[in-house]
């Protein structure tokens, strides 16, 4: 009996599995068969008017049922697309930042107060003053405190650092007039990127007044205001100003934390899996461990944060906000995942390998360490990468151990105060300024890119080392 309907018009279905269903669907669409049955009825008590009506109703129910399924999948996929499109629409622009071109006179009196062109002298120089002077020269008709303050408001408070760094790199610039692209303020940036709407009174976004917008248009028309690649976003850490923030602090923090996590949970996870899968006798203790691991995998992550706070910070007195503690907490959290994945990998190694090794006189430990473990290792690595990807996205437990601090520096060691990328996202998301929405979305895009890469590596490893026995 294949996919042919029986003579009396009631559809019969051959034994099917996923592959069989696929083949059947390719051979003949289900509905086509159903309609054909109704159309080509032969004389039978199953083809009276009522039976036909009943049959049509049942087929309609079948179509409705399929429509529900398709709707459900469409909702899920649509939600994913909606999320991604929102993030892309808000975040892609953050990889560029608005800069203003200015002719800055590097007056030695301002930028080199001691006059010896030494690094210390230049570091104390008033580059902000030099830039503001340049902006006044650009708009000579602006006078009055209020208007000048508005004019200087076009620039970021971080604008001077770019100029200073260039001068530090080449002190011979002092005393000359140079063209610099300096960082614009976040409001100007938002206007340039079209996130601020122009208001009827000539202002924009409720943050820029009419005159500032006029200056903006003037600069833009002259080509002195443009978007350039936002290098700062990849080299800076946190900041109070959205135009100056960067993700490097969070990325380094995440890297340090995950390193600790991996170093701790991979060896212990694999060892635990080996014991439970290969050596453990069946008794109450191993049962307890198994039940434990399964339950631990379902404990809410914030509980691990409480554990870290109570045990590692308060009992052992470890430093707050440190990648070391974050890594330990995440390791405890990832341990069940790695153990479960590693056990599955060991279970996939066929018994014939073990028996062959025993047959050659290997001890139990030799069988496991020399033969089973190397064959299971790719699977364990895949599982560990996936567990690390989960740990990379984890936020809640790290809030508990104080990794939520505002940290401008980039962490250098395992006990430095640090934050991680997801927590950085959380902190920026809390900020109402429009510029931060863009930067938060961009940081999320970077985080998702990392996760995607890790998962791709895991899939690659699985494909490359997958063996069918």
């Amino acid at each position: 009996m294949s996919n042919q309907p029986a003579k009396d018009g009631i559809p019969l279905r051959s034994p099917q599995d996923a592959a069989g269903a696929a083949a059947a669907a390719v051979a003949l669409p289900r509905e086509a068969v159903d309609e054909a049955v109704v159309a080509n009825r032969s004389a039978s008590r199953h083809t009276t008017a009522e039976a036909e009506k009943r049959l049509r109703r049942r087929y309609a129910a079948q179509r409705r049922f399929k429509a529900y399924g398709i709707t459900a999948i469409a909702i899920a996929v649509g939600a994913l697309l909606w999320l991604l499109i929102t993030l892309l629409a808000n975040g892609l622009s953050a990889f560029q930042q608005t800069y203003i071109r200015l002719e800055v006179t590097l007056d030695p009196a301002l930028v080199d107060p001691r006059g010896d062109r030494s690094e210390e002298s230049i570091r104390t120089g008033d580059f902000g003053g030099a830039i503001r002077q340049a902006l006044r020269e650009r708009f000579p008709d602006v006078v009055g405190r209020e208007r000048l303050r508005n004019l200087f408001g076009l620039l970021s408070s971080g604008a001077e650092f770019d100029v200073r760094d260039k001068v530090l790199a080449d002190p011979s610039l002092i005393g000359t007039k140079q063209t610099f692209w300096v960082l614009a303020s976040t409001d100007v940036d938002m206007l340039r990127k079209g996130f601020f709407e122009r208001q009827p009174d000539g202002g924009a976004g409720g943050r820029l007044n009419a005159e500032q917008v006029a200056w903006f248009d003037q600069l833009k028309a002259a080509g002195d205001l443009d978007l350039r690649f936002n290098k700062r976003f990849f080299t800076n850490a946190d900041s109070r100003e959205p135009e100056m923030v960067g993700i490097l602090g969070g990325v380094v923090g995440s890297f340090l934390t995950l390193s600790v996590c991996l170093v701790l949970c991979f060896p212990f996870g694999v060892a635990a899996a080996i014991y439970l899968e290969e050596f453990a006798p069946k008794n109450w203790f191993t049962d307890l461990i198994e039940v434990n691991i399964n339950n631990l995998a379902a404990v809410p992550s914030i509980i691990f944060g409480l554990l870290g706070l109570a045990v590692f910070l308060n009992f052992f007195g470890m430093p707050r906000s440190a990648p070391l503690v974050g890594g330990i907490v995440l390791a405890l959290m990832s341990l069940p995942t790695i153990i479960i994945a590693s056990r599955a990998a060991l279970r996939a190694v066929p018994p014939s390998i073990r028996e062959a090794a025993y047959g050659l006189g290997a001890s139990k430990m030799q069988v496991v360490l020399h033969h089973v473990l190397p064959l299971g290792l790719p699977g364990m690595m895949t599982g560990s990468i996936i567990a690390m990807a989960q740990a990379l996205g984890e936020t809640a437990p790290l809030l508990m151990i104080g990794m939520v601090a505002f940290i401008v520096g980039i962490p250098k060691g395992l006990t430095d105060s640090a934050t991680v990328l997801p927590v950085q996202i959380f902190m920026w998301a809390d900020n109402p300024e429009r510029g931060f929405v863009e930067k938060t979305s961009a940081a999320i895009l970077v985080l998702l890119a990392f996760l995607l890469t890790m998962n791709a590596i895991a899939i690659f490893l699985r494909k490359k080392f997958e063996r069918r026995w």
Binding site: A298, P300, I302
Partner: protein, 458 residues
Amino acid sequence: MSLTLFFVLLGLTVASFWVGRQHAVSLRNGGARLHSLPSYHGTYVALVCGLPAALLLLAWISAEGWMIRQFVIAGLPDEFKQLPDGELALLMTDVRNMAYGAVPLDTSRPHIVSAVEHYNRLRGLSKVLSWLVILAVAIAGFVLARRMIAPEFRARNAVERILNVVLIISSSLAVLTTIGIVLSLVFEALRFFARVPVTEFLFGLTWSPQTAIRAEQVGASGAFGAVPLIVGTLVISVIAMLVAVPVGLMAAVYMSEFMPGRIRAVVKPILEILAGIPTVVYGFFAALTVAPLVQSIGMSLGLNVASQSALAAGVVMGIMIIPFVSSLSDDVINAVPQSLREGSYGLGATQAETIRLVLLPAALPGIVASVILAFSRALGETMIVVMAAGLAANLTINPLESVTTVTVHIAMLLVGDQEFDSAKTLSAFALGLLLFVVTLGLNIIAQRVVKKYREQYE
């Protein structure tokens, strides 16, 4: 500092492996018949040299901070020793930060300066001692193990015994973690319940931990009734389940029964991406996009919707949970024996009828278990609700209003600096214990159900 010691220890271990192996090789070359291969002799020496020393190093690092703290406190002038616990802890935090150079030395307070000096002296002493003791242990282990090497020494069996112990210890780590969780939660929660009665915590209708102004009022004045938080958690979780269960279940049914294999191989991973997206991203999405959308839709219908409505947080959480429901249900639906499907088709049922009347009832226990697991996940979810749900503990079941959850308050109470003794801080642990017990209970129930169901078809 301890990192250097660690690497020295590692070098020593590698060296002792090599020495042990060489010795065994020379014995063999001298004509002896070894019981074990030379590398086992080497491994034995390395393990005996490195393992106890490494454990000691670990213990040293864990205990060092606490020991130094006790000594510094003992060395403080008497008037400081009598300080209440909280103030003493603050003082010691200052001392510690200054000793580590995280905070510049406060020279205006002489007792602090002397405490910092004492602290640094002890740290130096501890460093010297740790080097001496740990290297002594390592070398003693090395010498001892080196002397064991002999042709008849069963090095392989000894190494395997040690490895076996290491494996057992590794697998008990999971148990230790659970014990750690239970102890830390129970211990802190008991301190909380010493100030606030359990019944008030579980049945009280107002939650406002912020009222403690004067120290002697702590716990007496704040209201710690967790009912609004529990109800808020349930409201958001139920909304999430209302989204996730129908969508996840129908998606799973459609994928396993109707979808051709090739399309399924594409769609299933796409759905699973939803589970891989970090929750902080969902939280941002909920707060930025979904909550304003829900609010404006509500407004256009003439409803009064809070800007941080339970509905928005719940819907986004539901989206997050879809893949849990669908992949778990997929497993159970696939586990239903093929003969049940065939029997149904043989009686003339359509696919939809087979699914509705045969497959789903047969898979029901498994589906229920997956829904329970998903629900327990919704209860414990933190970031979405921290970012998209409110803070005010309203006792309401109206999904359009702002509610708050247990996890939001655990996070809010413990983020930032806290005094560790106030009822406010401790209440977070009581909430944590509640959450742990409930999710654990749900989990155990789900596992029972799955186990029973499996036996049915085996």
